[in-house]
């Protein structure tokens, strides 16, 4: 249905702010969402992501700032005047209308003569054409969710907002709907802005993820970028788990690698993994304790006697090993008391046990440096 439509314009938020009395829900956000992209707004509850979404929908008035859709400033327009539609967290389907009438609601509001045909097409897209005559409450949660989706996309908005649309579904259905949503987004080519607190969901579905915290944008980027190069401790911990080693300083022998010092041990880091703009002197440089080396649990290996030598080695004691089928997660206690989390896939390699002395290793290009702490 949308094969002929042009890519919608970019959505721009300029210093967008929303205060509730003396609480700042959204504190001056600047953001560009490219037209036709699948964009995720990720953050813990209360971070302002839903408020941001509601301002874009026109259901909440910004305290200050601008919202631009393509070349148009839509800040002052009402919800019903915007080419933006929303899939609500609770679905908010009209209980007194049939599924078909729900989907056709927006089209009939805009006096579309062929609303019935278009609504049926949208229902076919979400595979619910056979339920057109039923009432929403006769459908399962997953089906209601798809009706809500059809009701929004049938209007062919420039931007589709999804407010935690999968929150009420069970895990298996949620996985299915994630794939389904991505398929539909690619099919219709509408800009999707998906609000969620589930980092896995955001990374699975979105081209670009914006991490929000306390009303501000923490970091924006492709999922793999955010995961491998988090800019802040918050992002490092919110997107999966991280082992953070506090650093005492660096020494720079020149070349591709630098050496970071943690608890008197030299750790080799690829220069490309340093945050942009970080200057490292050739001598051991004292840096404040707010600099950390971060290593993801799945990037740590337990070195066996026959393994090739690793550039980085840390010895420790296994204090816990838990096996979940796909992988085993170990807690390894370091001599200075810190426990590192290590995840090893169930790939036939020998397993360690509680009480074993092990040596951990990782590649210099698999760690990241955070120049800021919480």
């Amino acid at each position: 249905m949308a094969t002929t439509r042009a890519t919608p314009g970019d959505l721009k938020l300029v210093q967008l702010t929303r205060n509730f009395e003396d609480f700042v829900a959204v504190a001056g956000i600047d953001l560009v969402v490219p037209g036709g992209s699948f964009f995720a707004l990720l953050g813990p509850s209360g971070c302002g992501k839903t408020t941001t979404l509601r301002m874009v929908a026109g259901l909440e008035e910004p305290t200050s700032g601008q919202i631009l859709l393509g070349a148009d400033d839509i800040t002052g327009t009402r919800a019903y005047q915007r080419k933006v539609n929303t899939v609500f967290q609770s679905y908010a389907l009209f209980p007194h209308l049939s599924v078909l009438d729900n989907v056709g609601f927006g089209l009939r509001q805009r006096k579309m003569g062929d609303w019935r045909r278009r609504a049926m097409e949208a229902l076919e897209l979400v595979k619910l054409a056979d339920r057109a005559k039923q009432r929403p409450r006769q459908l399962s949660g997953g089906m209601q969710q798809r009706v809500a989706l059809a009701r929004a996309i049938v209007n062919e908005p420039d931007v589709l907002l999804l407010d935690e649309p999968l929150g009420a579904l069970d895990l298996k259905l949620r996985r299915e709907m994630q794939i389904e949503l991505k398929r539909i987004q690619q099919e219709v080519g509408i800009t999707f802005i998906h609000v969620t607190h589930d980092q896995e969901e955001a990374m699975t579905m979105a081209d670009t993820v914006a991490v929000m915290r306390a009303g501000r944008l923490e970091q924006v980027g492709a999922p793999a970028d955010l995961y491998d190069h988090p800019a802040t401790t918050f992002v490092a911990n919110f997107l999966g788990q991280s082992n953070l080693l506090p650093l005492e300083g660096f020494s720079d022998p020149g070349g591709e690698f630098v050496t970071a010092h943690a608890h008197g041990i030299g750790l080799v880091v690829e220069r490309a993994q340093l945050p942009a703009g970080m200057v490292v002197t050739t001598q051991v440089a004292a840096v404040d304790s707010a600099v950390h080396l971060g290593i993801r649990p799945e990037k740590l290996r337990i070195l066996g006697p026959n393994d090739p030598p690793s550039a980085n080695r840390l010895g420790g004691l296994v204090t816990d090993a838990s096996f979940n089928g796909v992988a085993t997660t170990y807690l390894v206690s370091m001599p200075w008391g810190q426990e590192l989390t290590v995840t090893r896939p169930n790939d036939g390699s020998p397993r360690a046990h509680r009480g074993d002395e092990v040596t951990l290793g990782w590649d210099p290009n698999q760690a990241f440096v955070l120049a800021e702490a919480d």
Binding site: L59, A92, H96, F105, G106, N155
Partner: protein, 306 residues
């Protein structure tokens, strides 16, 4: 559900329905109410029916003569009062709806922590006797009172007169006063069912309607109003039925040209002592209301109320 129950009972136990306690428990529970209804409703209704078909007078006694002609006679003599009662009751119902709907919405969604206080205020008039409340309206609408003064100063008395609701530049003793009294007295019966239904309305649906290009007015007509219909139906019934039979408001606030059917029945029973006519009028009123209500519920019911 049946399959579930069977599965739960298990394979070894024969499929057994939940044990019925002789089917007597519901009857025992119903008995007091049934007895009450038989003694105080069914028996009097039958006796009233029989009374309507009797002839005679108070001095020589009445005998049952199956005089069905009394119904035709009652209608011929009192159809204007019947019609008037229906028109007044309908006007009062409309009035309570127009006043009560915004009030119920406000209490349900905008009153915050004042919600309970406002609900008590809606019911507060019931703490006073019906008769006294209506008498108070005589004082409110009295000729030298501020309300009449305001209506005269703003020229509203002339408007009411032009509409035929009052006969002169007084407010009391007019159709206007009677309908005002009815609206006032039955307002809580409209507000409470409306409040109950509007309070349950999911306000997120309003966001959804706005998101789907409906402005405030369209949202009301296409979402709020259809979802509130059950409250509207029960509110209008609770208002219309007693208002149609009311005989206090027209007596205290009206004049000889505003006599309602309730007043006629009252007078025939208690002063004229023409029991057959009074009984026949009561039956006609009951039948008229049942027919009207049945038609109304049917029309509203086709919308498949939620």
């Amino acid at each position: 559900m049946a399959a579930l129950t069977q599965a739960a009972v298990g394979a070894e136990a024969p499929v057994s329905r939940p044990r019925r306690r002789g089917g007597l428990v519901p009857l025992v529970l119903l008995a007091p109410a049934l007895l009450w209804l038989v003694v105080f409703f069914v028996v009097p209704t039958i006796s009233l029916a029989s009374q309507s078909l009797q002839t005679g007078d108070i001095d020589n006694g009445f005998t049952l003569t199956w005089n069905f002609a009394v119904y035709a006679e009652a209608m011929a003599r009192y159809w204007p009062q019947f019609l008037r009662s229906m028109v007044y009751a309908a006007s009062a119902t409309l009035g309570t709806l127009v006043l009560g709907y915004p009030l119920a919405w406000f209490i349900a969604h905008r009153s915050g922590r004042w919600k309970n206080v406002l609900l008590v205020l809606v019911v507060a008039p019931f703490f006073t006797n019906f008769l006294i409340r209506t008498l108070a309206w005589q004082i409110i609408l009295t000729d030298n009172g501020p309300v009449t003064g305001f209506f005269r100063a703003t020229g509203l008395t002339a408007v009411l007169q032009a509409m035929g609701l009052t006969d002169n530049d007084s407010l009391l003793g007019s159709q206007f006063a009677v309908i005002c009294g009815l609206v006032y007295n039955f307002l809580p019966f409209m507000v409470l069912p409306l409040y109950t239904i509007l309070e349950r309305l999911d306000v997120r649906l309003l966001d959804a309607a706005g998101d789907l290009y409906a402005n405030g007015w369209q949202t009301f007509w296409r979402v709020i109003w259809p979802l509130s219909l059950p409250g509207v139906v029960s509110g209008t019934l609770l208002t219309f039925i007693p208002a149609a039979g009311d005989y206090i408001n027209s007596r205290l606030l009206g004049n000889t040209q505003t006599v309602m059917i309730g007043q006629v029945i009252d007078a025939q029973f208690l002063r004229v002592l023409d029991y057959p006519i009074a009984a026949a009028l009561s039956f006609i009123l009951m039948a008229a209301i049942i027919v009207l209500v049945a038609g109304y519920v049917r029309a509203a019911g086709t919308e498949e109320l939620v």
